[in-house]
């Protein structure tokens, strides 16, 4: 099973550092709209809600199943999800299929974008000041729960269907 970035929503301050670190590492520019981790940050009545969304590397991944062009795959069971740039048509079916919307679109290249764990050393983790993000090993039992947990937080906050910042058309 691949590793994944675990999210502790209770300590996220909403600073968005992870977003710009991700896009800077992958594309040489700071741009939350080109990041594979995206912070849903909402203000209401003087208070802030924030939650980083990043691929949880599900074994039974609904994004892979939803892709009509077989652009999403894993090299092996232990590797993170990858997007085949030649095959991806940016239809966003994957983003819609993910229960927590943890796969995004990069509108500049017109491709889906998904956490690749930066080749094993995720750059966002050491720059997250609040220890919200940690690299963990998957275990089969927790597999489904992780993504469902993020989805349920979104649901509770009334943010699902509220077009979280995920690009899209």
């Amino acid at each position: 099973m691949p590793q994944f970035i675990s999210v502790d929503p209770s300590v996220c301050t909403g600073c968005g550092t992870c977003e710009v670190v991700c896009s800077l590492y992958h594309f040489g520019e700071c741009n939350p709209e080109r990041s594979a981790i995206r912070v849903i940050r909402r203000e209401k009545d003087g208070l802030v809600f924030s939650l980083p969304l990043v691929c949880q590397q599900c074994k039974q991944a609904s994004c892979i199943e939803a892709c009509p062009s077989e652009a999403l795959s894993r090299k092996s069971e232990d590797d993170p999800l990858t997007v085949d740039e030649k095959k991806c048509s940016a239809c966003a079916n994957c983003a819609d299929a993910c229960p927590a919307g943890c796969i995004f679109l990069d509108n500049q290249r017109n491709l889906a974008i998904c956490c690749d764990l930066c080749g094993g050393q995720p750059q966002c983790i050491p720059l997250c000041h609040s220890y919200c993000l940690t690299l963990e090993n998957s275990d089969e039992a927790g597999n489904k729960n992780r993504i469902e947990k993020l989805a349920s937080i979104l649901e509770t906050e009334g943010l699902w269907g509220n077009e979280p910042r995920k690009g899209g058309r």
């Binding site: 800077l24 709209e33 003087g46 208070l47």
Partner: protein, 638 residues
């Protein structure tokens, strides 16, 4: 490709609806960004005779080159205009998320000119810039407004800043707010926004900020974060915000001021936070996250940091933090500067104590120190210009004139701007306030004299004092070349200490880094660190000297703008209330306080350091030319 900068200055004229885009590059080398670029545009664009509420006044938002990158704490937006409080430079920085979003939309600076016929808000979505109707939103507070604007834009992730009822009514202490605790609160910029009929600014950007050497930039960010985490106060800050540090600070300050009263020892921000904290939040890319959020039944919800706790408790002799919270939430909602409010209330309380005003003057309310009945209604009264609030809403000097009977003598203001009441008037602080271009900049607080003054008050005798301050004198000698600068009893070296601290804030304000990443609260970001990141970001050598010189250039320009508005040496003063205010532990200790002659002496020193004319306080042509500001000298007729 332009690294670190978005590349454009967006100019929006609300009178004719025209939108223009200028390149930022002609400004970049000399003024770096953020506040520096704002200032040059303000100097060139606002004439001597323009009044703060004239359509010709400019309202500027400037974002520095490091903002939008993962540089820790680079999140600031500098907001500027001609101020209705001082009649000269109005400038206030705000953190939050507006700055980075403006850059992601493609703009380093936003310039708003003219006046809309009816209430509008400005919507910026990359290239799509729209002036939209806000007549339905007008009248709503700064919590409701962002929500309504986002609904209107159909974009829940747009970053929104707005004014509340205070700004709409041109209350000179009105601020510009994000929905969650960030505010350009000082110098009345919310009122300038109100005078333009501009209710809110909403931004959403989808572009990137490029960095020349991404790998090294990221690696350096990791190293910098590690060194921030190792700093002495960091653990405390990250866990408890400013509350614990501020509890100690307020006690130390009031030990110097010598005002104690029954109940003051019970004030404990840390306990309040421990009991009630809803969540710790922070600004874009900030590793400190200094904001405390509370959601208190019957008292309201909101987000706060640092000084308002003290403004609304210690400064008003109010021991009740729940009362502080109620008033603070009102300030947030109405868009009112909490510090100006607390200064105004304290002034009325002082006048009441001295018998200059009676309840008849204040809508039947007895303005007794610490009285909840006196404190609670004032935010609303001022924001909505009700009763006594209307008198205060045009500024304290104007109110003092109307009240008469010597009320003016009790004001605690500089250049018309209500001061931070818990800054002790020791020599460096008085000088810093007197020469500050905005009346008072609470971010400028020279460390060495402050800490020595505290030692002096606690010392048993001269020998133990000298022993206690030896290391501060050593530092003063090393850092500004004058050992006695750290002695609170003499004027020597005080100007140098003030300039040293101004240099620190200049550099942070130009690049968009929060000054709280610096030695201000013991964190390690300084000119060297910033210059190094500028070099990695731009991909060209960037010397620390270049940065320091640009900071000084900006300071000359701030001064020049004020000279253009008619200010000279005689305006560099503090109000009468400052004199004799320092009474350490209740004792009169004139040697660590200041006299008029001492202040004038320190001003001489300061002008000499700056290369300004000592007689008038106006920068000399020679100095301006040396910094490439010959056009500014021309404009001032030098």
């Amino acid at each position: 490709m332009e690294y670190l900068r978005a590349g454009q200055i967006l100019r929006v004229n609300l009178t004719d609806g025209k939108v223009r885009r200028d390149p930022v590059s002609p400004y970049a080398d000399r003024f770096v960004g953020g506040k520096g670029v704002n200032l040059k545009i303000l100097f060139d664009g606002v004439e001597h005779g323009t009044k703060p509420f004239d359509p010709e006044n400019l309202l500027l938002f400037g974002v520095g080159p490091l903002v939008g990158t993962p540089f820790p704490g680079a999140c600031r937006t500098d907001v500027m205009a001609k101020s209705p409080v001082t009649g000269a430079l109005g400038d206030s920085g705000m953190g939050g998320y507006l700055g980075p979003e403006l850059k992601f939309a493609g703009y380093d600076n936003l310039v708003i000119e003219g006046r809309a016929e009816k209430p509008v808000y400005l919507s910026i979505r990359d290239d799509r810039v729209e002036i939209r109707d806000a007549s339905v939103i007008w009248g709503h507070d700064t919590y409701e407004t962002p929500t309504m604007v986002r609904q209107d834009m159909k974009d829940p992730a747009a970053q929104v800043v707005s004014i509340g009822p205070a700004g709409e009514r041109l209350v000179v202490y009105a601020s510009i707010h994000s929905g969650t605790g960030n505010a350009a609160a000082r110098t009345g910029l919310g009122a300038v926004m109100g005078s333009k009929n501009l209710k809110a600014i909403a931004v959403r950007g989808t572009r990137g900020i490029t960095v020349s050497r991404p790998g090294e930039f990221l690696e350096s960010c990791q190293k910098l974060l590690a060194s921030i985490r190792q700093a002495k106060f960091y653990g405390d800050l990250h866990e408890a915000g400013l509350t614990r540090i501020h509890d100690r600070e307020m006690r130390a300050v009031y030990e110097l001021l010598g005002t104690t009263w029954e109940g003051c020892e019970t004030i404990c921000e840390a306990d309040f936070a421990k009991e009630h904290l809803y969540k710790r939040v922070g600004c874009f890319a900030c590793p400190v996250a200094c904001f405390d959020s509370y959601n208190l039944l019957g008292a309201g919800a909101g987000t706060v940091k640092c000084s308002p706790y003290g403004d609304l408790t210690w400064d008003l002799r109010n021991p009740d933090l729940m009362l502080f919270w109620k008033v603070f939430v009102e300030c947030q909602r109405y868009g009112l500067d909490a510090r100006s409010l607390s200064n105004a209330i304290a002034w009325l309380m002082e006048l009441h104590e001295k018998g200059i005003i009676t309840p008849r003057d204040t809508d039947g309310i007895a303005m007794k120190w610490g009285s909840p009945e006196a404190i609670l209604p004032m935010a609303r009264k001022i924001s909505y210009r009700e009763g006594i609030g209307d008198l205060l809403a045009d500024g304290l000097p104007a109110a003092a004139k109307k009240i008469g009977k010597g009320a003016e003598d009790y004001l605690l203001i500089t250049k018309g701007s209500p001061s931070d009441m818990h800054i002790p008037p020791i020599k460096t602080m008085v000088l810093a306030c007197a020469v500050s271009p905005i009346g008072e900049d609470a971010q400028v607080q020279p460390f060495l004299e402050g800490v020595s003054a505290r030692r002096y008050v606690r010392a048993k005798d001269e020998a133990s004092f000298e022993e206690a301050v030896k290391r501060y004198k050593d530092r003063a000698e090393k850092e500004v070349g004058i050992r006695e600068a750290a002695d609170p009893r003499v004027t020597d070296g005080k100007a140098a200490l003030v300039r040293q601290d101004e240099e620190r804030t200049d550099i942070a304000d130009m690049t968009g880094v929060c000054t709280w990443m610096t030695s201000f609260i013991g964190l390690p970001v300084d000119a060297h660190v910033i210059a190094n990141f500028m070099a990695l970001g731009l991909g060209t050598p960037f010397k620390v000297e270049t940065l320091i010189e640009a900071g000084l250039r900006m300071h000359h320009l701030e001064r020049s703008f004020n000279c253009k508005c008619g200010l000279t040496r005689r305006d560099d003063r503090v109000s009468k209330g400052y004199y004799g205010r320092l009474r350490p532990q209740g004792r009169w200790m004139p040697e660590i306080s200041f006299t008029e002659a001492e202040l004038e002496k320190m001003k001489d020193d300061y002008y000499q350091i700056m290369g300004w004319d000592v007689e008038t306080g106006i920068p000399t042509r020679r100095t301006l030319q040396k910094f490439g500001l010959g056009d500014v000298a021309d404009s001032l007729g030098l």
